[in-house]
């Protein structure tokens, strides 16, 4: 009976285009904070995570949800029409409230590295937490990004992922209505 189904984007086409632009900018400038709006996010997702899912995920992209994000499964399936897969190795996108084990996600192949997964991970905040120094394509000078709630050994996890290039996972971090991206090309070290 679809009790408690929330609305998606208020104005689907312009809202999705704006959000896509924000993700594009964030990917091109790792660590830069972009904003998302226009959506009533279902619990436990924030505005940015919900908007990114609505923008990027559709019936052609298998989606894996971690156990916390699965609370919003009905909303995601209704608005995106995406097949939700139980096996993380089969997904195109992963939505998680805690960073999943990146080794269990598809990293693409050398022939087609674009088939790797993109992880949309919701974190608590970009204002407090651990500071990371980012460098690589898109950054003329190293940038500093502060993130709350990433695993303690995130730097070594990321080093492993970065070393796979051209294969590897791309990460979109969302907190509230703000988002930023860490593409596989970026090198991360603790400040």
């Amino acid at each position: 009976m679809n009790i408690g189904l929330e609305a998606g984007f208020a104005d689907p086409v312009p809202d999705a285009q704006r959000c896509f632009r924000a993700v594009l900018d964030a990917m091109a400038h790792p660590g830069r904070i972009a904003h998302a709006a226009g959506v009533t996010a279902p619990y436990p997702l924030g505005t940015a995570a919900a908007a990114v899912v609505l923008t990027l995920v559709d019936h052609e992209t298998p989606l894996w949800l971690d156990s916390d994000a699965a609370t919003a499964r009905q909303w995601i399936e209704f608005h995106c029409g995406a097949p939700v897969v139980a096996d993380p190795a089969a997904c195109g996108f992963a939505l998680a409230l805690a960073l999943p084990d990146l080794r269990r996600l598809p990293a693409g192949s050398h022939e087609s590295p674009e088939t790797s997964a993109t992880v949309i991970c919701q974190v608590a905040s970009f204002d407090t937490g651990t500071a990371y120094r980012l460098s690589g394509p898109g950054l003329r000078e190293p940038a500093v990004l502060t993130v709350q709630d990433l695993p303690r050994d995130f730097v070594s996890i990321w080093r492993r992922n970065h070393a796979l290039f051209p294969r590897g996972i791309d990460l979109i971090l969302c907190a509230g209505d703000r988002l930023t991206a860490l593409p596989r090309t970026v090198a991360i070290e603790e400040v």
């Binding site: 009976m1 009790i3 189904l5 929330e6």
Partner: protein
């Protein structure tokens, strides 16, 4: 999830009223809703939005599938104050009609069987009558091709 909706007969009941609503004109749905009592408060979850759906057929009715053509469809999903969601897909681009049909679908899930029949019954009867009238008109102009009939039998 409500377990009554997952029962096969409950699904058939809902399919019936959804098909009646999909065929009913906006004015008919509006007056049926008014008869059922004060209009509930609803919010739009998706749409109303218009798009195309591919209609598929089977050659000879049972052969291999083929794409017959695209059809304009307007869909809408609403949610009542009680939290119940209603869906509607109607042919054409009449957004008000799709929204009213979705509201009626949501409302019908909440009502008991008697109130359901009083809401959907007149609409179904009108459509049945319309179908009959058309069938009668067509039957009156029917031509029997004796040669063909004899060949087939």
């Amino acid at each position: 999830m409500n377990d009554t909706i997952s029962r096969p007969d409950a699904i058939a009941t809902r399919q019936h009223w959804m098909s009646v609503l999909a065929r009913a004109p906006a004015e008919a749905i509006a007056s049926a809703l008014t008869r059922a009592g004060p209009l509930p408060v609803w919010s739009r979850v998706r749409g109303p939005e218009t798009g195309l759906v591919m209609v598929r057929g089977r050659t000879g009715g049972s052969g291999s599938p083929f794409n017959l053509g695209e059809m304009t469809v307007t869909r809408c999903t609403v949610r009542l104050g009680s939290g119940v969601a209603g869906h509607a897909y109607v042919a054409g681009r009449d957004e008000r009609r799709a929204e009213l049909a979705a509201v009626a679908d949501a409302l019908l899930q909440d009502l008991n069987t008697g109130s359901r029949d009083s809401l959907i019954g007149p609409l179904a009867a009108a459509q049945r009558e319309q179908r009959l009238t058309r069938a009668e008109k067509a039957a009156a102009t029917r031509v029997e091709f004796f040669a063909m009939r004899n060949m087939r039998s």
